[in-house]
Amino acid sequence: MKTLPPVDAVIVGGGWAGLLVAKELGARTSLNIVVLERGQSREPSDYATDMDELDYAIRLRMMQDLSKETVTLRHNVTRSALPLRQHGAFLPGAGVGGSGEHWNAQVPRFLPDCFALLTKTTEKYGAKALPEDHAVRDWGITYNELEPYYTRVDKLLGSSGKAGNLKGRLIEGGNIFEGWRSEEYPTPPTKMPYFSTLFRDAAKSLGYHPYPAPSANISQSYSNPDGVSRGGCTYCGFCARFGCMVGAKAQPTNLLLPIIQKRKNVSLRSGARVRRILFDSASKSVTRGVTYVDASGEEVFQPASLVFLASWTFNNTRLLLLSGIGEPYDPATGRGTVGRNLTHQVTVGAATAFFDQPLNRFMGSGSAGILFSDFDRDDLDRGPLNFIRGGYFAARGYGFQPIGAFGVLPNSIKATWGSEWKKASVSYYDRTATIGFAGEHLAYKTNFMDLDPVYKDALGDPLLRLTLDWRDNERKMAEFATPIGVQVAKAMGAREINPFPGLRSYDATRYNSTHIQGGTIMGDSPDHSVVSPYLQHWQLTNLFILGGSTFPQNASANPTPTVLAFVYRTADAIIDRYLKHPGPLG
């Protein structure tokens, strides 16, 4: 194996987390940095002609090539896992920018109590309030410590919205249930598609507190603190599964790449598939660098003084397991930390509503819409349903395209093809939309990741195996959310309503969200976690792990701003302290 000249830092993964740490370290230090991205290189101009539903939204051109690598799934340890042979419940991106290119750019923050979920829930309701076999943990950090970094993220992205809590002062029209913000959003709320305005008025009439969805598809032109300027969103409707044609959507390639490309001390190698993280076997306290297969197919060793693992939840976890770093989690004994606390998100279409009037649904953006968070708190009366936590309701005007949107019909129509089906589908085509609910997914001892004993990737390495299923808390939460969605749809004037049919087993064929957490979680002790709240590996102190893999459990809110806030905090700690005195950051 060829050994390359050593560098100061190697970053595995060129998505949001990897490119943000590359930008921070690259622009603020003279460190020699290499970013290794296994997908293709990419420029914002690639998106000028990508508004093709078939190739991008249906054939999923921007997603990971599963012919090379996928994950396997089983519902519990008594079953054999099988590979997810095609995309379904989640859509990890490939190429420079990663999933940050095709996201919807929804940018809410996590609620303050999410960061101390175990302590707060136990204090308030007693230990028995949590499900018996839960694995819920505190993060080892508070919202107050993170708030300044969240504000930096909002300025980086130019987030559009309206604050509901400015330094403790509640403001009607914003989300009054959110954590305090030190500053108003950098840009005002987006324009609202018609469906979202119906939802807003109905929610208000029912006594809820609707607010404009926080959006990184920005409402007007904005120049961020790095001097990167973007124009406002045109509501073309091609967001999810597409890169932004006009660059109004915050993406790694339009916010971070231009700065990185100007820095001589940062280089980005695409087509570089990292296979192992090497560490000093005698001391077990330092990584030595990584091995990867380069674009030409040759396997090389890249020595580095600092290693950043920023390759999304699955690959962060898998690379630790493949490299023999840390103890794999064993659900039978509860020992080991790598792979534990796998969580997804309780994302359901609470009510699909059918209207008399047309909605013009082709206009919108991935994050233009209205939310309400009245049930995203922990102090609610849930009636006879015994569950904890909650989530937010949403009516977004994503921008609908006809292959994906055609054929959604009221349950009263049974035909699935032929004249009757066609006639109804044509008539309802622009008269239906779904009220969404996004709720917290708790961590359980039985939901985890390890290496699959049977299935391999294209290079012969074991695939990552997910053991994952819904539990009563999630099923009851969906059951609780459904009648609320139906109530709002009725108040919106819907002629017919399909309620959510209920959560059964985890379904890998139904798109849920690309918010998957855990595997390399943070915490306040190496007994229960892989990294510290500075995202520093507890044993290998020159290894930092960035991304949703470090979240102890899912929060209802979309994760990207939280991922980025932690990256900022880690970059600051490295620049201000670690580089002067390498070692554990306390």
């Binding site: 012919s67 095609q86 598609p193 047309p358 013009n360 005007g397």
Partner: protein
Amino acid sequence: MVRRRHFLTLSIATLGGVLVYSLDRKATLLASQHKPVRVPLRFFTETEALIVAAAASRIFPSDESGPGAREAGVAIFIDRQLAGSYGRDRFRYTQRPFEDAPRELGYQGSATPRQIYREGLKGLRGFQLLAPAGQDEALRKIESTLFFSLLCQNTIEGMFCDPMHGGNAGMIGWQLVGFPGPRLSNFDEVDKYYGKAFRPKPMSLRQSTGAKVRPSEDES
């Protein structure tokens, strides 16, 4: 590779065109020419293409609620998709072993869309010669098969894809549902037309961007 070229002969009168709605919302198709065209096939034999065209026309019929799969050229679309990366499962995980699984783990079979079509079409011999009622009966018999669900999904794709993919001829599918195609900006319209239909004239991706965009099925 040498192979016999197959063609599907289509009447221009039934391929694409402009939809005109009468006052009672009945759609009429305007077409000016009546000269037939021969479209070279990339995957199907001529007989297979005729069966697929006939079946797609029963799934998405041309009737009083507007034109359907025949006018959109759905069979041409499916032929191109099967000839391209989709048809040969270029991006699917296809390593062994193949095992049966609960529905929630998704399709676990080894057959590619090409193989599923080729096998499925064997069960529809002579289908194109049946009367519509007989065709519907034949389709009802295979309703629960993977082949039929693929055919339904691909028919919808062929109705509403960008015309560069060979379906949605004359943007007939987009006209049918009022989708304008990729518009570069709806900034001035998104918060107007509340409760009222806004139906700009459809434009394809090539028309809208002025760029010569290549569909993925034309890439190797």
